[in-house]
């Protein structure tokens, strides 16, 4: 029983990490409808961002967010203007191949800039473990979970209670309708891309406190994030969180009770099974895209 609880705790903590990673994707895909196959590489770059800040300033990576968030937002807006804007009306395959090309650029760019070595950041709390009732919880994951909770709360209230947030929801549901009430759709898309990149920045920073970064690390993240977002239901933040939790807990249970080599197999199969039953994901609503 103790072990079971430990597994669930670990699963939930890993789940929040996953949710954090998938959040940016969920927003960008949910709003812009952009199929970003370079998402994992965006996270990789964010991790390098956190690494660089702590390397040069010695700050805790989380504090570095005060520098990274504005930069990410501007990058998101810029990326939208330069690339995404041209893509969103193109067919899906164009999204996939163009962002695949982008991931080439990011990966090899990172390889040139940072070499291929593994880089990581050490913090005061890297080694700290919280020990209670025979359960172990490590601080980097606790802080990661806290960051995730704060970010999600901020996001949900932003989307619900501000005008820009409402506009983002409106644009993601009905682009034409949004135009008809005078919303500058491209501006909103650019803001959404900026917010998406900010979420990615937070996840990268949180990851760098307990993961090493190297140029090809994004490849693993990419598929995982996609599975989570689609499993939860597109454009639904609660869905993304639930999807992440399901996958992380499943990984834990399969790894412990069944076979460590088959953890990914288990979640792929579950993903397929859930899609067979609910073709739009767990929280997905059957929608029609204009």
């Amino acid at each position: 029983m103790e072990i079971f609880i430990q597994l669930i705790i670990n699963g939930c903590l890993t789940g929040t990490t996953y949710a954090l990673m998938a959040l940016g994707l969920s927003i960008i895909f949910g709003t812009l409808g952009l199929i970003n196959f370079a998402h994992g590489d965006f996270i990789m770059l964010a991790m390098y961002g956190g690494f660089l800040i702590s390397l040069f300033s010695g700050m805790d990576p989380y504090l570095g967010l005060f520098i990274m968030l504005p930069i990410s937002f501007v990058l998101g807006v810029g990326l939208y203007r330069v690339l995404f804007k041209r893509l969103i009306d193109a067919p899906e395959e164009a999204h996939i191949i163009a962002t695949f090309g982008l991931s080439f650029v990011f990966q090899y760019g990172a390889m040139l800039l940072f070499s291929a070595e593994y880089k990581s950041v050490s913090t005061d709390y890297s080694a700290d473990v919280f020990h209670i009732w025979n359960q172990y919880i490590d601080y980097p994951h606790i802080y990661g979970a806290m960051a995730a909770v704060i970010l999600i709360a901020l996001l949900i209230s932003f989307l619900r209670y501000t005008n820009t947030g409402r506009a983002i929801r409106a644009v993601s549901e009905q682009r034409r309708g949004a135009m008809m009430i005078g919303i500058n759709v491209h501006k909103i898309y650019a803001i959404a891309a900026g917010i998406g990149l900010c979420c990615i920045a937070v996840s990268g920073v949180s990851l760098i406190t307990f993961e090493s970064v190297h140029p090809t690390i994004g490849v693993h993240f990419n598929l995982l994030c996609w599975i989570i977002v689609v499993l939860g239901g597109i454009g639904s933040i609660p869905g993304t969180i639930v999807g992440a939790m399901i996958i992380a807990v499943l990984e834990m249970l399969v790894g412990y009770y069944f076979e460590p080599t088959l953890t990914t197999f288990a979640y792929f199969i579950m993903f397929l099974a859930i899609l067979m039953i609910r073709p739009s994901g767990i929280f997905g609503i059957k929608e029609r895209r204009a």
Binding site: I3, Q6, L7, N10, T14, T17, Y18, Y108, M111, S115, A116, E117, Y118, K119, S120, V121, S122, S126, A127, V129, H131, Y136, I137, D138, H141, F210, E211, S212, H214, P215, T216, I217, V219, H220, L224, A248, E251, M252, L253, V254, G255, Y256, P260, T261, L262, T263, T264
Partner: protein, 442 residues
Amino acid sequence: MKRAFTNYVVITMVCLFILPFGSFAMADAGSKTVKIGVILPLTGPQAPIGREVLRGIEVAADMVNDMGGIWNKQKISLVTGDAANSESARTETERLITVEKVKLLIGVYSSSLAFIVHPIADKYNVVFWETNAIADRLRQMGHENTYFFGPMASGWGSQAADCVVELIAPKLKKDPKELKIAVVYQGTEWGKSLSHDGFVKRANELGLNIVIDAPYDPNTMDFSSLILKIKRTNPDIVHTQNYLDDGYRLFRDARKNGLNPKVWIADGCPWAYVDEAFQKFGDDMNYVLDLNQVAGGNIWSLSPTTQSQYREFLDRYTKKYNVKSVAASSDVAVGFTSAIALFEHVLPAAGSLDPKKIAEVVNDLSLPATSTARPGGIKFAPQSDPVQAGQNIRAGVVARQIFNKKYYTVWPKDSAEIEAIFPAPPFGKRAFDDKNLEMLIK
């Protein structure tokens, strides 16, 4: 008809124009150079290590060239090929041989790629000097001109089991058979051949008690479930084999879930990035036992020339690539030691790159452990040997215990620098004073 003609021209031009593209790829080297091909994964997921090996080889070539080159002052010029995946391994090898006309190849580090690259070198009768591919079967493919400088998987794994019996059990003051050993490894060719086919097999022969034999999926983000599974068996020794990021994750999750074995063996893991590991885990990295093919710290046991050569290498490496410290990044050293052995002991004596002459030299080669910074020494099995053809049979592994970002050789006994210290205290209490260490150094 004119219009149709333009069509033909457009399309065929495109296709004919593109083909010779590859040919002006490399600047033509002057006649006074000896072209040597280096085939390694330089991009893609295996690049971190491939690039390290390349750096080692580059430093070796620089050193030889600065000393005046080989054979009548000819300089060595390296031509690289990028074996990022199976197709590129094949095409790049083919390019190096047929377009660049290299007669000798060094590489390719990964066993999976070696299975593709070696047959091609063999087809063209080109000498292949393998730096570190370990899979046993590579030696049994009948390639006459392929030499394996590094150790072989089965030998490697079984030496680890010997180390448990000879070194660890006495330190823990227990009968080796009483020790509970957990074995974890990547579900890859490398992991399986080293841990399952090497270590576990030998451990069973020795009557050791393997409590868990667990391959895992290296893409797992969190190893807590595997760690808890191991923790339940309450092992004295955890024997791990892994690559970089899964290795870090495994260690991280062991620490976070309170798995505290008396000995943590990192066997064949590139823990060589020891700075990086200390950056992540701090003092908790102390006491880890690293089994690998390169001796970093025990250069004092080498012959004076080899010692100064190795020091020069470390010096050049830090300068050339602007690295702070080396701490014997083992893959750079693997590249360097393999290449320098070739440049120093084989090529001058052979006088040319002719495979037959090289074979003669290699066959006669018999150098003691003091002549290379790699453990063991150099002596190659004859090509007629069915199991270890072309294998450097003296290539061995050493066990090094890690203390404060440094490696200290502890096994085999005759090259040990310090007495190993086991059992390791639990995580969090592993700080180790350098002063105590000085007292340990023999």
